[in-house]
């Protein structure tokens, strides 16, 4: 008991009694971190170095070109990716957050069907993205007759990220202490008022972080779009939700298969742009979290 209550003696005891194990544990932790960071750094250094000659304004001002790889751009891919992510955010986030609120605040967890829904959502989060591509092709593109359009792509990707949004939003809502809800209800607020005025604002940082990480996953997907038959060479920007489109990962995929060296450079430059968009989104997540973080 004395050891626990006096920190200094605890440290002394630890450093005397098991210095080696403490050290090894620390080294193991640092090594794990170093491996993760080293690979990321290697990837970034490699693509920036490789893509450096093409990292200029022509990259986003020009459309892709098979005939002039040295001045070809990726404008249609950048805008296609932004359209998809924007529409996905509009469709998947409200649906996902509302579903999470229902599951956390309204659903009776003792009922078998609610537990079944929970189990299935967790399972869906692990389904490979190409399966969503097949679903999108069969159901959205062909059966619903949406064709190979921005809408089809965004709906498919929305289905893909929905389970992740629901799971992360539920975690965030669950992290709000019950005392907040009880206090609100005790003061006469209805359940809806409690959720809207207390629970949701308090869980904003968690929901925002989870949502943006889910969208970040969507941004790097190529497999479902390949399945959906999104064209690889598109020389025009999407003009609406019914436009034909392409996305950056697909363009990168088609560039690296070309024989000319210039396309390898272009692919690297496009990867840098994709990483930059990702980084921007993650920064927004961090900013939102810090801005609205609340401690109890």
């Amino acid at each position: 008991m004395a050891i626990l209550s006096t920190p200094r003696s605890a440290v002394q005891l630890a450093s005397k009694g098991r210095p080696l194990r403490e050290h090894l544990f620390r080294i193991a932790l640092l090594a794990s971190l170093a491996i993760a960071i080293a690979f990321l750094a290697m990837l970034i250094v490699y693509v920036v170095e490789e893509g450096w000659p093409r990292l200029d304004s022509t990259l986003w001002e020009n459309q892709p070109s098979i005939r002039r790889p040295e001045t070809a751009g990726i404008q249609s891919g950048i805008l296609g990716t932004l359209w998809i992510i924007g529409l996905t955010a509009l469709m998947a986030l409200p649906t996902g957050i509302l579903a999470a609120i229902y599951l956390e605040e309204y659903a009776d967890k003792t009922k078998w069907y609610n537990r079944l829904i929970e189990l299935n959502i967790s399972n869906l989060a692990a389904v490979p993205s190409i399966v969503y591509g097949i679903l999108g092709l069969g159901m959205i593109a062909r059966w619903m007759q949406f064709g190979f359009t921005v809408m089809t792509g965004a709906l498919t990707v929305s289905l893909l990220v929905l389970p992740i949004v629901i799971i992360s939003a539920r975690e965030a809502i669950r992290a709000v202490p019950p005392s907040i809800r009880e206090g609100s209800l005790a003061l006469g607020a209805t359940q809806w008022q409690t959720i809207y005025r207390q629970v949701l604002p308090a869980s904003v940082p968690g929901i925002a972080t989870g949502s943006i990480l889910a969208l970040s996953r969507a941004i790097g997907e190529a497999a479902p779009f390949l399945m959906l038959g999104a064209a690889t060479l598109v020389r025009f920007n999407p003009e609406g939700v019914w436009s034909t489109f392409t996305v950056l990962p697909l363009q990168i995929y088609s560039f690296i298969a070309r024989p000319q060296e210039e396309f390898a450079i272009l692919a690297a430059a496009a990867i840098v742009i994709l990483l930059a968009i990702l980084l921007l989104m993650n920064s927004v997540a961090i900013w939102l979290r810090n801005r609205y973080q609340k401690r109890w």
């Binding site: 098979i66 038959g229 064209a231």
Partner: protein, 333 residues
């Protein structure tokens, strides 16, 4: 506004930022590219400005050719959009016969079952030969023993019976050294694989399985470049771009060794590995003015397009046949 509502609206704003960025970007200015070296298209496609979309998909080998056509055509008719997909020859026909695309690119002729699928949906089409490819067999620059291989020797290397047995160059021909034979080739989904196995092994799809397959021809380049006893095959363009790294093998199909080249492929001397490349327009789509204009442009400028996309252009007789094939498609009821 309560503080809770303010917070919520801040989140909503953040979620909208991305979508707004997308929406605002829609009106970006058209690309600034220099004037093209292509000859102006004759006659009909020069007329009124057309609009619409010509959907194309299919072989990734043929895609660059249609892409080059789409780029050049875009300089004449900027309002007509020609997206080019590359789902592979088979994947392209699946969509084409489902009525989802207007033109299908193919690196092999349409198969009977694909024809049946098209017929079932009432889709009529024509087969247009638009360029020639010379499948090129490559070895490492360090390989100083093989300059010419007969089709029989190639079969000995690639036939299913060679699996696990033909391991060194000596197994192919006793005159060759006992260097390990490392084989690289396209994956089984590729039209290139279908063509090569059909011509060399005598049966489409029949190949030994213990080789390194890749959907990306650049991997074959890297593989053969790094192995003294390596051998691989792919389209002529990939050899041209990597001629400093690899050596092309001359092919002897019974009438002497022929090196892969533009002239040999055009003149029909590079047998059996020179192959035609196709586009399949649907008869219904050709009735739409934008599709007709695109095809007219494609066919009229086929030489420039092939050169630009680094394909082997058609010879004059083939070009004449292409033109008459397109005319007869257009005159179809």
């Amino acid at each position: 506004m309560t503080s809770g509502q303010r917070r919520l609206s801040a989140v909503a704003t953040a979620a909208l930022v991305v979508s707004l960025a997308a929406a605002c970007g829609g009106d970006a200015k058209p690309t600034s590219e220099g004037t093209s070296s292509a000859a102006a298209a004759p006659g009909e496609s020069q007329g009124a400005a057309l609009s619409g979309e010509v959907k194309t998909d299919g072989s990734s080998t043929v895609a660059p050719l249609t892409q080059a056509a789409s780029e050049l055509f875009g300089e004449e008719q900027p309002q007509v959009k020609v997206p080019v997909g590359s789902s592979g020859t088979g994947g392209g026909f699946e969509k084409f016969c489902n009525g989802e695309t207007d033109i299908s690119n193919a690196s092999r002729p349409i198969k009977d079952e694909e024809k049946a699928a098209c017929e079932a949906k009432g889709i009529k089409f024509a087969e247009l030969t638009v360029a020639t490819d010379a499948l090129t067999v490559v070895v490492s620059k360090e390989n100083d023993w093989a300059t010419c291989l007969t089709t029989d020797q190639l079969k000995k290397m690639w036939e299913p019976a060679a699996e696990g047995k033909v391991k060194t160059w000596k197994d192919v021909d006793p005159k060759f050294p006992a260097e390990e034979l490392k084989l690289y080739g396209p994956g089984t989904d590729s039209g290139t694989f279908d063509y090569f196995t059909d011509e060399i092994n005598g049966e489409e799809g029949a190949s030994r399985k213990d080789y390194s397959p890749s959907e990306n021809d650049n991997d074959i380049v890297t593989g053969v470049f790094g192995a003294k006893g390596g051998l691989g095959y792919f389209g002529f363009t990939y050899f041209e771009e990597n001629a400093d790294k690899l050596k092309a093998i001359e092919i002897d199909s019974g009438s002497g060794c022929v090196a892969p080249s533009v002239e040999a492929a055009q003149g029909g001397k590079y047998t059996p590995l020179a192959r035609p490349l196709f586009v399949y327009p649907s008869a219904a789509a050709v009735k739409r003015p934008e599709v007709a204009a695109f095809l007219d442009y494609y066919v009229a400028n086929i030489g420039t397009i092939a050169k630009d996309a680094k394909f082997i252009p058609l010879n004059p007789e083939q070009e004449a046949k292409l033109k008459s094939d397109l005319e007869s498609l257009k005159s179809q009821g």
